[in-house]
């Protein structure tokens, strides 16, 4: 009997051991300590928390829209409380972006993030952040102390957490929060800065095109200025003269300069034949820094300002920056109040202060001006040496360790070497490599502004990324393209010299000639204050027209379709108000569709075959070019365009191995078609016959839609094929929102951008208006909305509380007064 007992004991012990080992991974399901309790960072509770380091009590009032109003007695306590509050709502997101930007995400998610971490170091983001932190510490100690106070607030919150309180994602990944520091705030700023930086990739892609096609062919699909743009449509209206200075003053004719072939070796120092040998290198350079764990966004944004002469409510600002629509959002809404300091708006998580918002006297918004603020340089390398001005030099090295292995970033005189092939390399010149990110100073100055001059002064500190800073005060309005644009001294074929921004291809890095020699002086940055015509707008179109004194050779602008929408609306209004601006932000008319559709109709007249094609044709003929979810024509139009792209330009490029250009996502593909139809209908880009391309694409599109959506065309509405996904930064579908049927297309002001790829449904919209903001300091009216909420908790009522309003183009007050308090958090000294 005892033997039987021993046997049973042995068997049961074995079973217990096996069961215990194999169920350890299910520990996170523990009903008390596990994922079920993930509200420690989220619940809007009335609570009193004792915080070391505060000099006085801080009150945080949460209003019924989830906006936090933080009241402190001094700026140190204010930013500390901001850090505490942001961590209490978004700890996981803050730390995820911090690690991502610092190139150490593999410490959390393993090898999956290794290439992302390497990319961050190749770009130089962690190195630049550390350099900037040291610079600020020594030269701007007060600003640095605010960064430290914010970090302390984050860490104070972390110190209140035990395992049970950790946000769910920490438990899923089985990681613990790390302590925050100014380095992480600055690194995330650099990450966002790089995301919004043009030049490097564009020059490489442009060079790849140049390798395979001739100059006139390239200009049809990759023009210096987008087709159909003129000086009425640029951010700064007029011929490009800024503060009385222009190209003509330098004795250079704009017509001459812009008629030159800027791809040639006189402009770049590299022959076309050399580029042919460098195709693999250029592809490596693009790929090596394009693989972050969370993809760098493709960006676009809208902003405009109205002067007091043109408005019934004083100067008005409207801004909606288009960013990846993460769940949770990268924005967190709040108001920061201390003596002589009162700012309301949206903070970028992990970075102290309000990035887009207003004071009682001023308001500001941001869009991306594009234009090359980074450049690619071709290097000759040998081992750890690079060739420069006829001599070999040792490259500087930066070593870092990931997952137990040491990696090295090599630096030439032009910046980090991001790719090598045979004896060649491509280095990245980005001003952030040499210049500390003083943009954080600019943010504090904006937050503390009380006049228009304060806003302009804040713009002087804005370094990276260059931004169209749209600014209004109670009586003035304007836009300034703030930031650092490296200048290259080019000698034109006629012997004259001119300082230009960027290039059409990588530049020869082995000689001094093409090195940047400074930046556009602040006085001559594109800028317009109280424009006579009553308005200015900046939705990523060219900032200046052709007589600008520092030509943007590397412009790489957006197509200007949204600029056309804004211009045509404002040009014909005599006086507007806030309500008009809200309507304009919700506009879903595609200007390019209004030009291309008649061309499609012209090509298809008397060429439809069968009732389905005939009905589809009639939908297009009766369309007013709006993209609402319940309309059919947008579906038909978009699939025709997608088939046109897929059967012509994309096919040609893919055949050449240039699918890396991702032409279907390039915003000026539609105006390119319109231009080609009007000026060169036998172009290679439309297979030699525009009309035939349209006819074939029409048939294919209708057939594709019929197969996937049935033969009842009235059911082919836009909301069946065009969806929004607000996605989780970790890429976990279960933590994302959507798909939601969504309005708009890539060229509507209320944007719903998706690449022109003929799949049903279309690729999900993942980038959009990350917030909408309308401000009128003169009338003290401030409205906003964003597609999210303050909390990252899955079970919080404030996770996506503003999303339904955002979807229906409604706004809430962001005035910072007369709000309804639903909870109060007191931080005690």
């Amino acid at each position: 009997m005892k033997g039987y007992n021993y046997l049973m004991i042995g068997a049961l012990v074995t079973l217990l051991v096996i069961l215990s080992i194999f169920t350890t991974s299910l520990s996170i399901l523990n009903p008390f300590l596990g994922i079920w309790y993930s509200s420690g960072n989220v619940n809007m509770l009335n609570e009193i928390v004792s915080i070391p380091g505060l000099s006085g009590n801080v009150n945080i009032y949460i209003d019924s829209n989830g906006i936090a109003h933080i009241y402190a007695n001094n700026l140190h306590d204010l930013f500390l409380a901001e850090g505490y509050y942001e961590a209490s709502q978004r700890l996981f997101e803050i730390e995820l972006f911090g690690l991502l930007a610092m190139g150490n995400l593999s410490s959390w998610v393993g090898a999956k993030a290794l290439s992302s971490d390497i990319a961050m170091h190749l770009i130089g983001i962690p190195q630049n952040a550390i350099m900037s932190a040291q610079y600020l510490k020594h030269n701007y100690p007060t600003i640095y102390s605010y960064l430290e106070a914010f970090s302390q607030g984050v860490n104070d919150y972390i110190n209140t957490l035990n395992y049970r309180d950790l946000p769910l994602e920490f438990k899923l990944l089985n990681v613990r929060p790390y302590y925050w520091s100014p380095d992480y705030s600055l690194a995330f700023g650099e990450y966002m800065g790089w995301s919004l930086t043009s030049g490097f990739n564009d020059e490489l892609k442009s060079a790849l095109l140049y390798t395979y096609f001739n100059y006139s062919e390239i200009n049809e699909i990759n023009p210096y200025y987008p087709h159909f743009i003129d000086g009425n449509l640029t951010v700064i209206p007029g011929d490009g003269t800024v503060n009385g200075y222009n190209l003509t003053d330098q004795g250079i004719s704009p017509q001459y300069l812009w008629s030159l072939n800027w791809y040639q070796s006189w402009a770049t120092g590299i022959n076309k034949d050399e580029f042919k040998d460098l195709v693999p290198l250029m592809k490596y350079a693009i790929l090596n820094i394009s693989d972050p764990f969370i993809l760098f966004p493709k960006f676009a944004s809208n902003s405009w300002v109205i002067t007091s002469d043109f408005s019934t409510q004083g100067p008005i600002l409207a801004n909606d920056p288009h960013l990846p629509l993460f769940d949770p959002s990268v924005w967190i809404p709040l108001q920061l109040i201390a003596p002589a300091f009162n700012v309301t708006g949206w903070s970028l998580v992990g970075i102290p202060g309000v990035l887009i918002g207003h004071t009682a006297y001023t308001a500001w918004g941001l869009t991306t001006p594009e234009g090359s603020s980074s450049d690619a340089y071709l290097e000759i390398v040998n081992g750890s040496q690079y060739y420069y001005n006829g001599k070999w030099y040792q490259m500087n090295e930066y070593n870092y360790t990931l997952m137990g292995r040491t990696y090295t970033v090599y630096y030439t005189n032009n910046g980090p070497l991001v790719a090598r092939y045979k004896n060649y390399g491509i280095s990245l010149y980005w001003s952030a490599w040499k210049e500390p990110i003083l943009t954080v100073i600019s943010i504090f100055l904006l937050d503390n502004s009380t006049s228009f001059n304060d806003l302009i002064n804040a713009a002087k500190y804005w370094v990276i990324p260059p931004q169209n800073l749209a600014i209004v005060s109670k009586h003035h309005a304007g836009i300034i393209v703030a930031g650092l644009y490296p200048l290259i001294n080019e000698t034109l074929p006629n012997g004259k010299s001119v300082l230009v921004v960027g290039a059409r291809t990588p530049l020869n890095g082995t000689v001094t000639k093409y090195e940047p020699i400074g930046y556009i002086p602040f006085k001559y940055l594109p800028q317009t204050f109280d424009p006579v015509r009553g308005f200015a707008f900046a939705p990523n179109q060219p900032t200046v027209w052709i007589n600008y004194p520092f030509p943007f050779i590397g412009g790489f602008w957006s197509s200007g379709g949204r600029a056309e929408d804004i211009y045509h609306y404002l040009e014909y209004q005599r006086s507007v108000n806030i309500s008009d601006m809200m309507k304009l932000q919700s506009n879903v008319t595609d200007y390019w569709a209004s030009l291309l559709t008649p061309l499609i109709i012209k090509a298809m007249v008397n060429n439809t075959n069968g009732s389905i094609q005939g009905t589809a044709f009639n939908y297009l003929r009766n369309w007013n070019f709006t993209f609402y979810q319940n309309e059919v024509a947008p579906t038909i139009y978009t699939y025709i365009v997608a088939e046109m792209v897929n059967n012509s330009i994309a096919k040609i490029l893919n055949k050449m191995g240039l699918d890396i250009l991702d032409i279907a996502s390039i915003p000026y593909i539609v105006p390119d078609f319109i231009y080609i139809a009007q000026y060169d209908p036998t172009s290679i880009w439309v297979n030699g016959n525009f009309t035939n391309l349209v006819r074939q694409s029409f048939v294919k599109a209708i057939s594709l839609l019929e197969q996937n959506l049935g033969d009842n065309i009235s059911q082919w509405y836009w909301g069946r094929v065009h969806f929004l996904e607000i996605y989780n930064p970790l890429g976990l579908k279960a933590l994302s929102v959507g798909p939601i049927p969504i309005f708009g297309d890539p060229h509507t002001l209320a944007v719903g951008s998706t690449p022109y790829i003929p799949t049903v449904p279309l690729p999900y919209v993942t980038v959009g208006s990350s917030l909408r903001f309308i401000a009128s300091p003169y009338s003290s009216q401030f409205y906003g909305i964003f597609p999210g909420g303050p909390s990252e908790s899955l079970v919080s009522a404030f996770r996506e509380n503003q999303l339904p309003l955002w979807l229906s183009f409604k706004y809430i007050s962001y005035s910072g007064y007369n709000y309804t308090i639903i909870a109060k958090i007191t931080l005690e000294a």
């Binding site: 049961l12 217990l16 069961l19 215990s20």
Partner: protein, 114 residues
């Protein structure tokens, strides 16, 4: 065994079940539940072990709003590809199973010394 002793054994086992789950994350802590239960008969130690482990674990969900539990279960279910209902039951089932085996183990250990 006297009825009062049985009650003490069950109560101490229940207390151990809650204490272990509240202070330790891992399901193997259900082993502790079986220690007092080993004093009961084989049948009752097995039944008691499973029920105390399973129900104590399941009852802890009552401290949360049902909507929150349901939402998290749905999301975790999507992540790991199982039914949300099973997500809720999984830990209690494992906890109950381990405490059942543990109770039987201690039952046999106690029998060795008799």
């Amino acid at each position: 065994m006297k009825g009062t002793n049985t009650i003490y054994i069950i109560i101490s086992s229940i207390l151990l079940a809650y204490i272990m789950q509240i202070f330790v994350l891992y399901p193997f802590t259900a082993v502790a539940i079986g220690i007092p239960l080993g004093l009961l008969s084989r049948k009752y130690s097995a039944i008691g072990g499973f029920l105390i482990g399973f129900l104590s674990s399941l009852s802890l969900y009552l401290i949360y709003p049902i909507n929150a539990v349901s939402k998290i279960a749905e999301i975790i279910g999507q992540l790991i590809g199982i039914n949300p209902f099973l997500v809720v039951l999984l830990y209690p089932l494992i906890y109950g199973t381990i405490s059942l085996i543990s109770a039987l183990l201690f039952y046999y250990i106690v029998r060795l010394n008799k």
